[in-house]
Each structure stands twice: as C-alpha cells, then as structure tokens.
C-alpha cells in the first residue's frame, strides 16, 4: 500500500489553499494601474494575472492574504479589505 507519495508536476494546483486566508484579502481597484507588474512579481503564490493597465486580478482560490501586492503597488491601486466584507 502506498498512499499519495508521488505527484505529477503542477498538481499542487489541485489544492485550493485560499481557505488558509484568515483576516484580509486584496481588492484590485483597477483605476490607477500602470501595469508595472510589481504585484504579479512579488506575489509568493504566483496567483496574480494581468497584462494591460487595470486588468490585474488575483485567484482567491490560492491567495493567502499576505498583502505584499497592496504594499508594493506604487499607485495604491490595491487595498486590503476585511474578509467579512462581501463583493470580490
């Protein structure tokens, strides 16, 4: 008997770890974005996508709410909002 001892590359995506987020989550305002990609590069989860200005967004299935993206955004275009607040 073996159990889950080996995995195909990329299979960690099957684990929806966004539920680990506890306090806050980033809200991408998409108003003053200059597409500098700093948020995309600094995200430790690699779960931010986007190309053009004001198109950047993160995948909440994986986002842990660390706030790095909001902290590094030169235009303050990402803000951390309480988990309890609705409207993703």
């Amino acid at each position: 008997m073996f159990g889950p001892i080996k995995a195909k590359p990329g299979s960690a995506k099957n684990n929806k770890t966004g539920s680990w987020r506890i306090d806050k989550r980033p809200k991408f305002l998409q108003k003053n974005c200059i597409a500098c990609k700093m948020c995309l590069l600094i995200c430790p989860e690699g779960c931010i996508t986007g190309k053009e200005k004001n198109t950047f967004i993160c995948d909440y299935n994986y986002c842990k709410g660390c706030g790095n993206c909001a902290a590094i955004c030169p235009k303050d275009d990402i803000e951390m909002i309480a988990e309890s607040v609705g409207d993703k």
């Binding site: 008997m1 073996f2 159990g3 889950p4 080996k6 195909k8 590359p9 299979s11 960690a12 684990n15």
Partner: protein, 393 residues
C-alpha cells in the same frame, strides 16, 4: 565456497553480489571496513558501481536517496553518530518509499564517547518506517543482505531495509562464511525494477508537501505495508532456502523451545552466547531456550505469541534502553502480551551497554533472576562502586 572472512568483508562481498549501481558512505568506526572493502572492490573493477565520496553521513544518505529515486540499486553503511546525523534523511527515505539498503554497525551513542557495541543507535530511528533486521553471525550477515534487496525492492513493499550487525563483535570478528556463486544470487535477485522513478521524460515529484488532507494516509500506508511485509519476508526467506539450502523463516528463530520453561528473547550477536549457555544449562537438566528476533520492524507479534505464550518465564535482553522507561524489546514484548489470558511472566534486562561484555555468566545470572520476582528494567553486570562516585559542588 566457504571462506574465512571478517564480518565487514562478508558485507562487502554480499553487496558486490547484489550489484548496486551507486554506493555512498562516510567512514565511521566500526563500519569503516565495510566501505573500505567496497571501495577496493569498485577500484579493482570487480564491481561496476559509482562510488560517491561525501563529506558527511547526511550527504551519504542524501546521495543514496537521490540515486535510488532515479531507479538504481544503492547501498550505504554507517554507525552510531553517523546514523544520527543521517536521521533526517532516514525518515525521508522511508517516506518516499525508496528501497535503500543500509548496514548499521551497531555502536553506543555519545556522550560519553564510546566506539564500542550496543544497539542504542538503531533505536533512535526505530519509528522511521524502515524494515529493521538483526544478524547473529557472519553467515546471517551475508544471507540477510541478499534477502534485504529482495524485500526492499518487492513491489508490494518498496521500503528501505537496515541490516544491523553488532560493532566489532561481528564487523571485526572472523568466521567461515559460505559465499554464494554469482549465478545463484542472480537467480534469487533479479535486476531492480523501480515502480516509480525520477525521469525527465515523465516527471514526477517525490517527497513533496502534503498538507493535512494527504499526510496521514502516507503513514497509514507504511503501517499497512509493514503488516503485509510480515507475510512477504517469510515468503522471500523460503525462496532463499530453496536456492541456497540454508536460512531461517526471516522473522524469528527459536532455539530449544520444546518443553522450555525459561526463555531469553534477544537480537544480534548475543544470541550466540545465549545459545551456548542454553546448551550448558540443558546439559544440567534445566529447561531453558532462546528466541532470536531477526526482523524487529515490522514487529513479528503473532510469531512471538505463538512460540512464547506457553512458556512460563520470558526474559527480554535489551542492549539498549529508552532512558526514563525500559528496554525497547521489553516494551514491545509487554505490549504484545498485554491483556492476553495465555501469557508468560515477562522480565526485562538491560546488558552490554557501551561494549560491556555479555558472557555466559551474565546469561546464567539472567536465568537465575528470572525464577525470582518479575523485574522491568534490571541492569546486568553493573559496577556499583562506579555509581557511588560523588561530585562535590
């Protein structure tokens, strides 16, 4: 062909016959002669194997882990402090289900520094998931190594196997050994066919992160495999017997148990001394016997119950101790018989720590004490005057 060999040379010759593709080890007393022998064999071109020199035991274990993960047969050996330095990797090897074979030349653990024999080192990794086997003599060392590869690489098992041999007593002592022919070994041990391996054309990840949704099942699987191995090890031992005309049933060995009222349970080279003492006491009309533990993990609980439940008194002889509790073998024996109606009186004795000699007198002492009050952790051959040493503030 029978040859007069040092125990370490017997290991080197056995490993040569098994043809591992990668060998990595770091020298440590009393394991050194094993690796020295293998290095010579590889250097002389008698074995086509990559011998990887490393800077520590942690690296040696890591090399064989990585090599085994690519689907090649591997070998390493260590002892005492070296095994402790390996211990992180030891758990990883078992967790990744890699059929690594390691020879442990059993030695006491520091401090104080002791290079002499007891069986404390292996107990540090007892719960790692490795299959643990103990050899009594040189022939068994040779035979267990050949079987270890079969056991580890069996697709129903896929677990590492550690062969334990008492430092100096077995590693440096010399005995005649029947060294099998290569054709015989090839018949018994086919080339290693991995069940999974690291391959750039078909990539997999081994040893990856397992969150609480996955981890527990990997441990349950190892536990269940250990239970299954209790049937597979004797199956492989039977096949070994058929080809080589010698051997045991792979789990335990009984010595003069018919009608025995007092029995000593132990493992490793001390079994030889116990058997000799049993012969002498039998000649005096005493009904005594011995049980040798060959496979310690998985624990052959049913096999031990079957042979010991009708015995009156059982002495468990440990050459190691779980400080603050009891000897590890003793605890296991007590657990096996806990709550059973038919059970012997089990006493625990600890002897031979740090190379203190266990001779026939020690064994006779144990049989004598066995007739008296039941004890859990009685030390044999302790110098009371040394315990009285005082340290002034």
């Amino acid at each position: 062909m029978r040859e007069f060999l040092e125990g370490s040379q017997a290991v080197a010759r056995a490993v040569k016959l098994c043809k591992p593709g990668v060998i990595s080890a770091y020298p440590i007393t009393p394991q050194t002669h094993i690796v020295e022998g293998l290095a010579q064999i590889v250097a002389d071109g008698e074995l086509d194997s990559q011998f990887v020199n490393v800077e520590s035991e942690h690296s040696a274990a890591s090399v064989v882990l990585g090599a085994s993960a690519t689907g090649v047969r591997v070998f390493t050996a260590t002892s005492s402090q070296g095994l402790l330095l390996m211990s992180e990797v030891i758990f990883n090897i078992a967790g990744m289900r890699l059929p690594v074979i390691l020879t442990c030349a059993n030695r006491a653990v520091s401090a104080p520094i002791s290079i002499w024999n007891d069986q404390q080192d292996v107990m540090a990794i007892r719960d790692s998931g490795w299959i643990l086997m103990f050899a009594e003599n040189h022939q068994e060392i040779m035979d267990l190594h050949l079987q270890a590869y079969r056991i580890a690489e069996d697709h129903r098992i896929m677990l590492p196997v550690m062969i334990n041999m008492d430092g100096y007593i077995l590693t440096h002592g010399m005995e005649p050994v029947d060294v099998p022919q290569q054709e015989q070994v090839d018949k018994f041990l086919p080339p290693y066919k991995p069940l999974y391996k690291l391959d750039v054309n078909d990539p997999i990840t081994l040893g990856c992160l397992a969150d609480p949704e996955y981890y527990m099942e990997t441990r349950v699987a190892i536990q269940k495999t250990h239970e299954e191995a209790l049937n597979i090890i004797p199956e492989i031992a039977r096949e070994f017997k058929k080809i080589f005309n010698r051997g045991t049933d792979g789990l335990i060995e009984c010595y003069k148990l018919e009608d025995a009222k007092q029995v000593i349970v132990c493992a490793g080279s001390v079994v030889g001394t116990v058997k000799d003492t049993v012969d002498e006491l039998r000649a005096q009309g005493k009904k005594v016997g011995a049980v040798k533990i060959i496979t310690y993990r998985p624990l052959p609980a049913q096999a031990l119950i079957d042979v010991l439940e009708s015995v009156e008194q059982v002495a468990v002889l440990d050459k190691s101790i779980s400080l603050g509790a009891y000897g590890p073998f003793f605890m296991d024996l007590k657990t096996i018989f806990q709550g059973r109606k038919k059970a012997p009186k089990i006493s625990g004795f600890v002897a031979g720590l740090g190379g203190r000699d266990i001779n026939k007198k020690s064994i006779i002492q144990i049989f004598d004490k066995l007739s008296k009050k039941q004890v859990d952790c009685e030390f044999i051959d302790v110098k009371d005057e040394l315990l009285k040493v005082k340290i002034e503030p």
